[in-house]
């Protein structure tokens, strides 16, 4: 026998969180596409599928608790279960932000198109890339990539400020677009928050690999 009893359970847990990660990533991408392509059908799909993501979160919670209670993981196994238990609600919250963006898309798609989506596509692309990279880094337990992704959070923050200023200008230039621009401000904020969450995932990836907490530390 080459495998320990815990190994098969950790394998299942890994599969479950990777599925959740994939579903979350798809939700963010679709939510932004529903906005930029004015595709309300796609937005509704994001809203519908959030229930599945919520169920996945509960399922992973249950399994993490069960492994902790029954298998008493130690060392790397323990860090893995703890990381999964902490990353799971982060992913679920990212998916919630995606549903918020989809809800905004449903409203915006019914109104006049605000032509200047300014930095949105770039911001959305950066967020998606970072999210995918953070999940790949989790899979490969790659703390180097995780640290690089953390640094990219600055790009999101910069994009956010540009988008914010552009939208303010739109509001001033054409007050009839104020409502739509205000919704877009929230969308920008959602993307900015997703960036923060991705950073949290990367910090947990470093913990998983190196057993060090880099959260709240000045250097990463």
């Amino acid at each position: 026998m080459e495998h320990r009893i815990i190994d098969s359970q950790l394998g299942v847990l890994r599969d479950k969180i990777l599925l959740l990660g994939g579903a979350t990533e798809a939700a963010v991408t679709r939510a932004m596409e529903s906005l930029t392509r004015r595709d309300s059908e796609l937005a509704r799909r994001v809203l519908d599928e959030d229930r599945i993501i919520n169920q996945m979160e509960l399922d992973i919670d249950r399994m993490s608790i069960e492994i902790l209670a029954l298998q008493q993981p130690a060392a790397h196994d323990l860090r893995f279960v703890i990381s999964v238990a902490k990353i799971t609600p982060i992913l679920e919250r990212i998916a919630d932000h995606a549903t918020n963006i989809a809800e905004a898309a449903l409203i915006l798609n019914d109104g006049p198109e605000i032509k200047s989506f300014v930095d949105f596509p770039i911001m959305a692309k950066t967020v998606s890339e970072m999210l995918r990279a953070s999940l790949d880094a989790f899979t490969n337990e790659d703390s180097r990539i995780s640290r690089e992704v953390i640094k990219r959070d600055k790009e999101i923050d910069e994009s956010y400020h540009r988008v914010f200023n552009d939208l303010l200008e739109i509001m001033v230039d054409d007050p009839s677009l104020t409502t739509g621009a205000a919704h877009l401000l929230f969308v920008a904020k959602h993307l900015e928050r997703i960036g923060d969450y991705v950073k949290d995932i990367c910090e947990l990836n470093v913990y998983l690999r190196e057993a060090v907490f880099i959260k709240h530390s000045p250097r990463t």
């Binding site: 495998h3 009893i5 815990i6 298998q71 008493q72």
Partner: protein, 278 residues
């Protein structure tokens, strides 16, 4: 209804919680114990035990010393009969047949319900002969080659073959403690039992040998129903599908292990598994 149908109808006529969820499911009971009382002379050791043990699962018995878990384990293959002045009341059904009914062939019963003890007890013979012994006395084998095959199979099932295949004719006492215990498991498996009772099989072993026994237990449940008495609650958590908690001769709680170790029904169980007593 033919005999087989009758047997199956007895075995599936139970409803309980599945081991992985709170869904109600039908359970194939291998062992069905009802209102069992057990006495050492006038001293009552077990009180009104009722429990269903499903087929091909691992059931752990836990509880403080003297709680009756080993006594109960031994009632399942009538090993207590060897102790004078003991008496059992109630029924223990294996596949629907009461093993305490008059006319039960106890030797045949113990072949079906094998047992492994706390302290490994190999015979002062070779590794091969230890495993071959039960096959020989029960006349299970058809030829010398068949005997050798059965010995190999039992040793493989006990995850010992690779370690001993080149020294089958050497003394069993040359094996390590963990290997000796797995040899005893191989000896129990050699006579093709349906249930294997294990009385603290790893309590005298180091962590590495213990881990091997635990992995073996999980592997064996694919073919056998396993009942394991353990002082080690973590071991019960790791290997079992269901756990029974005994205290002062009574069955306090019996639930899926996942439930038992995350949200037991009884306060007494919670106090025990969290180390508040015992």
């Amino acid at each position: 209804m033919n005999k087989k149908e009758q047997k199956d109808s007895i075995r599936i006529d139970k409803i309980g919680f599945s081991k992985n969820s709170n869904r109600l499911v039908t359970i194939m009971s291998k062992i069905s114990v009802s209102n069992l009382n057990f006495f050492y002379a006038k001293a009552q050791a077990l009180f009104d035990i009722t429990i269903e043990i499903p087929e091909r699962e691992v059931i752990a018995f836990i509880g403080p010393s003297g709680c009756g878990k080993s006594t109960f384990l031994r009632t399942l293959n009538r090993m207590n009969d060897t102790i004078p002045l003991t008496k059992a009341e109630g029924t223990v059904l294996i596949d629907g047949e009461n093993i305490y009914s008059a006319g039960t062939d106890v030797v045949a019963l113990r072949r079906r319900i094998g047992m492994v003890f706390q302290k490994s007890n190999p015979f002062p013979k070779s590794i091969f002969e230890n495993v071959a012994y039960g096959i020989r006395i029960n006349g299970i084998h058809s030829s010398k080659a068949d005997l050798a095959e059965r010995v190999e199979k039992a040793l493989r099932d006990a995850a010992l073959w690779e370690e001993v295949k080149d020294r089958l004719n050497t003394s069993a006492f040359g094996l390590s403690g963990g290997q000796q215990q797995r040899l005893c498991i191989a000896r129990a498996l050699a006579v093709e039992p349906e249930v294997v009772l294990m009385d603290e099989p790893a309590s005298a072993l180091d962590p590495s040998a213990t881990q091997k026994i635990e992995e073996l237990v999980v592997e064996l449940k694919k073919k056998y129903t396993i009942v394991i008495v353990t002082h080690n609650m973590q071991q019960a958590a790791r290997v079992s599908d269901r756990t029974a908690f005994f205290m002062l001769g009574k069955l306090v709680e019996y639930n899926p292990t996942q439930k038992m170790f995350t949200n037991p029904d009884e306060r007494l169980t919670e106090d025990y598994i969290t180390g508040r007593f015992g």
